[in-house]
Amino acid sequence: MSKLGIFDLSVRYGKLTAVNNISFTVAEGERVFISGPNGAGKSSLLAAIAGEVRAAHGRIEMDGDILSGRVPEAIARRGLSMVPEGRRIFRALSVQENLMVGVGLRRDKTAVPDDLEAIYAAFPILGTRRHANAGALSGGQQQMLAIGRALMTNPKLMLVDEPSLGLAPRVVDEVYDRLCSLQAQRGLTLVIVEQSSARAGRVGGRMLLLRGGQIVADGDAASFAADDLLKEAYFGKAAP
């Protein structure tokens, strides 16, 4: 059974179709990049999986359970966590309070202090600034906090939306290093929206290429880099 299954999913905003009849599955422990130009429907796809927007059509399953139609908090309780676009840190809360918001859904409350220390070990800067206001963190630190906050819910499947947005390339490298080592440690399944397919190729994994709300290619991220399909997805078919 796949970890995540998307079947004939469509998402519409009024008359605008953002995601158009998409189907794919993600295996347990897999790392899947979703790439494509602006407006391809990447973020809408993630938002629909997490329950933030309602699917117009289709079905979403996790471990064989149907997620579509459930409210976001119920989906989070099934072990899905989201690092959203723009990070959406609680700026008025301290770093530690941000990390603690999501532990309310956990049944293994006794493991929370150890998990908190594990996050601080993975992201030492969060540990040293644990009592600081989260709004005072730099962009890279906020991205790490958003990842740590999602991990504190002890997810099995994590959705990460544009972790590189607005960050310096060196910081992006660091964010991906941590993400990959955390994935290896915890046996996480990762679905990452990454606009730069070159970046996805370097990090490695499977890549789905979206355009106009549809999947135009599905394969190994590294082999995509110089592919014509990619240019086509971004710039359209060359005139004959």
Binding site: P72, P84, R88, F90, A92, G104
Partner: protein, 302 residues
């Protein structure tokens, strides 16, 4: 004389602050300006007396010892607010903020008319804790015992609320939800529980205001929540919509300015005290349209 003014300012400002908090708490989590808050206060006032349209009020709950009366009335306020949320606002969860606000007006009218039908329209004299009217000497000033009790009660309520918000799980979830409700839900925070919790707290705060109003004025009037609701709403706007410290600070500031104006205005200008007060409010909002303490949640998200 001046010390007396300080006590007046603190006790009046404290009531405004608690009423403003009741509005700011709900606005924080669901962007609803609850205009029925004044009627929540009036409802709690009438919950003290036996239902009847007679001109003379007979104490019901109000005759109970304070240790029973206070928690029971807080529960009445919380119960009314939670019931309102469940019956009126929950079915309207996804409508525009303007529609929610109109619904809160309608709810207020319904509560007020229910009180009119049950208790009649004439104000009734009721006497709650008359022994608190005795003055005591404090730091060289004659201060009514009641005023000291009000100031202590306000500080106690503010301290308890601050601890609850800072230290408890539900407090953390409320603060997170106030900043970004959608994100809090993505982290498993239950929307219904947080909203019901905010309404319960807001209703208990309305009951606190009701107790103080009755003890101070000795009157139960169907219309009594309206005036304080107006000032409390102004305090939440001046403080910055959704900012709890802002609502408290602005409540105290409005209380202090009213008392100060009463003292310094020439006799013939005193009937227009409120005009001066609202003039100042306009001035503050011209200089800082976002309020004194703009909250993160009031900013649009990109």
């Amino acid at each position: 004389m001046t010390l007396q003014l300080v006590f007046d300012a603190l006790s009046l400002g404290g009531i405004y602050a608690i009423a403003a908090l009741g509005i700011a708490l709900i606005f924080g989590v669901m962007k609803l300006v609850n205009f029925a808050h004044g009627q929540f206060i009036a409802f709690a006032v009438f919950a003290l007396i036996v239902p009847s349209t007679d001109a003379v009020a007979v104490m019901g709950l109000g005759a109970a010892p304070a240790l029973v009366l206070v928690p029971a009335l807080l529960a009445v306020g919380a119960g009314l607010a939670v019931a309102s949320e469940y019956l009126v606002f929950r079915p309207l969860r996804n409508v525009s903020p303007v529609a929610l606000m109109v619904a809160s007006f309608a709810l207020g009218v319904v509560i007020q008319n229910a009180l009119l039908v049950i208790y009649g329209g004439r104000p009734k004299a009721i006497s709650l804790w008359p022994e608190l009217g005795k003055p005591v000497r404090l730091l060289g000033a004659e201060v009514p015992m009641l005023q000291i009790m009000v100031i202590c009660a306000v500080l106690l309520v503010l301290a308890l609320l601050a601890i609850m918000l800072k230290r408890s799980r539900v407090g953390l979830e409320m603060r997170a939800a106030a900043e970004d409700f959608g994100m809090a839900r993505l982290l498993g925070v239950r929307a219904n529980a947080v909203i019901a919790g905010a309404f319960a707290l807001s209703g208990a705060l309305a009951a606190t205001v009701a107790l103080v109003l009755v003890a101070q004025t000795g009157v139960a009037d169907v219309r009594m929540g309206g005036q304080i609701m107006l000032i409390a709403f102004i305090a939440t706007v001046v403080g910055g919509m959704g900012s709890l410290p802002g609502a408290v600070a602005a409540g105290f500031a409005i209380g202090a300015v009213s008392v100060a104006l009463q003292a310094v205005l020439p006799i013939e200008a005193r009937p227009f005290r409120d005009a001066f007060l609202y003039g100042l409010v306009i001035l503050v909002l011209l200089l800082r349209p976002q309020g004194l303490f703009a909250s993160a949640s009031a900013k649009p998200r990109v």
